[in-house]
């Protein structure tokens, strides 16, 4: 049986899944609690039993801002904190909608898309 800490680290595994179009998060086998962003063991309590599970992709906007940017540099864009249905919170962008129209409490759904040349977990209105 391989050692829990052997092999690629959680950031590497997360990015490998993302590159293949999968949004995966971690879950503690013993407590059932989910983790995002990826860690070596359960933050705060230390259970070394995190396993990868598909994220539902369902989320709710917890906080939002419009980053003002000149049109010649790409224009305004949204940055938001999303509460995932599984519990953890993550930073992302809500896309496919005017950045100023994103509201706290809005239900959103994850999608994987290119952001500045790399795959990223983005959200759009559910």
């Amino acid at each position: 049986m391989s050692n829990y800490f052997d092999g690629p680290g959680p950031e590497s595994v997360f990015n490998a899944h993302l590159a293949e179009g999968r949004f995966m998060i971690q879950r503690s086998a013993s407590t059932g609690k989910h983790v995002m962003w990826p860690r070596v063991f359960m933050p705060g309590t230390g259970e070394a039993d995190l396993e990868w599970v598909p994220a539902s992709g369902e989320g709710t906007v917890y906080a939002t801002t419009v980053t003002r940017r000149r049109p010649e540099h790409g224009g305004d864009y949204n940055v938001a904190l999303i509460d995932l249905a599984e519990g953890p919170r993550m930073m992302s962008r809500v896309v496919g909608i005017d950045p100023a129209a994103v509201t706290i409490g809005m239900k959103v759904k994850a999608k994987i898309d290119d952001l500045n040349g790399a795959p990223a977990v983005l959200f759009e209105p559910a």
Binding site: W37, A63, T65, R68, Y77, V79, L81, R89
Partner: protein, 384 residues
């Protein structure tokens, strides 16, 4: 077993100075720090070769204490260059008090300097935040804008509520010859200023200035040798709950809820005893959150508490009497300036903005993205 009271009054500030505030073209951050150290030691009437403890952090040095010691030409017995953001210097004061009380050192100097304004803007050696950087948050502004959005959502705060903080700071700045922005400012001007990261506009954000500061601390036994009355460190405590804004448990509650009560417990005083309150106002939301979290009003009440001139000159609670990071000076990391204003008020040397009988002064530092919180309480000899 922990003993919160042990350090109370075991160290005092005997020298304090600023240098290059506003614009200091052609002078680099280490040179500005060195100038502030020179001025603070002159203020304390202590020669450079007696400095045996050195504490420093900047946004552009990874080993600030060593770089500064070398520029000063001193060989400290103890140094600390740890960086927890803009609150580092208040944490350094706590550490300096420990090193002084333990007998490791006799004279501690805490310093900061930056030439960010004339060198082309804020730069930092800070590491990128994993799983945030790709979304291009324009930190720190993005993080504080997110917190502001949440606070407005939960408590019904308005941009006008936030603007009260900026206007009060400007009114104080008008009484401070050292302040960078001293023109009159109205609520309407703050609300209508160019949006930077909604809901924050340009005038909700701190200044971008140059500036340096230094503080000299000793044990009480020699603190009375100087030309100023010593200002004693009565209480100090730190806390941090997160590094990235996405990991902050509740965007409307900061770790000042932990640092504040421990600092007050060490000092043996409470919020109502404070004669002046100096808090790190990088953005207008800061003042509201910290007044709540430090116990000056209840959670959600800060939006109204800051209105009606309460925290402005002539108000019931003098807050950020130098004009704050919003109107006085903000050279990237502002914590040491917060501390110096508390010390100057307790000394009674603040001129037109001096608060009569300012014997107990709170200085609260914030670092990162509402991340590290350090609360200090300073008092005159009568408060020991």
């Amino acid at each position: 077993m922990s003993d919160l009271k042990h350090l109370r009054g075991k160290a005092a500030c005997v020298g304090a100075a600023t240098a290059g505030c506003g614009e200091a073209p052609g002078r680099n951050s280490t040179e500005l720090m060195a100038e502030a150290v020179y001025r603070a030691l002159a203020d304390a009437d202590i020669p450079l070769n007696q400095v045996d403890g050195l504490f420093a952090a900047t946004a552009v040095h990874s080993m600030a204490a060593m770089s500064l010691a070398e520029h000063l030409g001193i060989q400290p017995k103890y140094s600390n260059g740890s960086n927890i953001g803009g609150s580092s210097f208040l944490a350094h004061a706590l550490d300096a008090a420990m090193a002084l009380e333990a007998g490791l050192i006799d004279v501690a100097v805490i310093a900061y300097g930056s030439n960010q304004r004339t060198a082309g803007g804020f730069k930092s050696v800070s590491e990128p935040m994993p799983f945030e950087a790709q979304y291009e948050p324009r930190n720190p502004i993005t993080a504080y804008a997110l917190a502001t959005s949440r606070y407005m959502h939960e408590f019904g705060a308005t941009r006008e509520n936030l603007a009260e903080v900026a206007v009060a700071a400007r009114q104080w700045a008008q009484l401070n010859p050292e302040a960078f922005m001293r023109d009159p400012l109205t609520i309407e001007e703050v609300v209508k200023a160019r949006p930077i990261s909604d809901p924050l506009g340009k005038l909700d954000c701190c200044l971008v200035t140059d500036g340096a500061a230094a503080v000299v601390m000793t044990r009480p036994d020699r603190a009375k040798d100087g030309s100023h009355k010593p200002v004693y460190l009565l209480g100090a405590a730190m806390a941090h709950h997160h590094r990235m804004i996405s990991e902050m448990p509740d965007l409307t509650m900061t770790a000042a809820r932990d640092s504040g009560p421990r600092a007050f417990a060490m000092a043996g005083y409470g919020p109502r005893d404070m004669d002046t309150v100096q808090i790190y106002d990088a953005f207008t939301i800061n003042t509201i959150l910290f007044l709540e979290d430090l116990g000056f009003c209840k959670k959600g009440e800060g939006k109204d508490f800051v209105g009606g001139g309460r925290i402005a000159p002539g108000g019931a609670l003098p807050v950020n009497t130098n004009g704050g990071g919003l109107s006085c000076v903000h050279p990237g990391m502002y914590g040491l300036f917060v501390m110096i204003e508390a010390i100057r008020q307790a000394r009674g040397t603040c001129g037109e903005r001096q608060i009569d009988g300012a014997n107990l002064c709170l200085a609260h530092g914030n670092g990162g993205v509402l991340s590290s919180q350090v609360t200090t309480i300073w008092g005159t000899e009568e408060t020991l």
